[in-house]
Symmetry: C2
Subunit: 143 residues, 2 copies
Amino acid sequence: MRLNQTAEYALRVMAYLATQDNQEPIKSKELAKTTGIPLFYLSKIMRRLVVAGLVQSQKGHGGGFTLAKPRSEIHFIDIIQSVSSEFSTKRCVFGYARCGDENPCPLHPTWKILRNQILSWANKFTLEDVAKGEPIELPDDVV
Amino acid sequence: MRLNQTAEYALRVMAYLATQDNQEPIKSKELAKTTGIPLFYLSKIMRRLVVAGLVQSQKGHGGGFTLAKPRSEIHFIDIIQSVSSEFSTKRCVFGYARCGDENPCPLHPTWKILRNQILSWANKFTLEDVAKGEPIELPDDVV
DNA sequence: AGTATATTGGACAAAATTGTCCATTAACTC
DNA sequence: GAGTTAATGGACAATTTTGTCCAATATACT
């Protein structure tokens, strides 16, 4: 169970895409500007999202990125997992090679609860659940 | 909301301490061996736990570490926060400078749910809740 | 006092994550 | 076809996290 900056970035940019309902693709430059994610780092993230099939990319003039599926079909878990393999890792927190209900480590019962909560959260919500409307306030770190 | 290796290590070693009910302090060497955490990295973590007042250390012959309080008074949140400041960071995932119920970012409602779930989990459980008994299986990465 | 033990602290090293730069490729416009 | 635009890919740099080494300090035992 790991949660890092990149996963948060991915959620952020996808949430932004979900709030834009124009049909034209959105350029990474605009994405970077409005989300505050470093441009070229964002590009890498976008690529991963494209490869994962969550986003479509279009090169050249008028190109950019669009969601590859309806919002309701893009779950948070898809987004996070496409950029962060360690997110839903099964490795036991305690270090057991085979930790499970039959062979529980001391942390198993409590950790399982956390894991389940996080995973079911990520499985439950989709881009449909992000609030619509224009951003009210710009990020701090955007100049 | 960040969850990293060090936080997991801290939980792991504290859980181990909680399962040992002898009165003698436990040496970091033993802790490292049984938890599979690299010895000197573990030392740093232990120091943080000592500074946070969760663990008592004893130098010299017969020294080692013991819990500084009853198990029931050591919450997971204390453990994690003493080694990982970013765990319960309030920074908005979306990047808003002031994100809140009145000025919500698109991710606010869903993210708030995750945050609350994780934090209430961490606030709820204590070392009392870790399973007692001897470890059944040694970690894989321990030689 | 002297010796062994174990934490502590500082410096350092390796690895992973995060961020940047630039050339290449693909697509569109005229 | 020439020029422009925007994603892609690769190399690289900075930063953070994770891991290691060793000397210093404190404690206990004889």
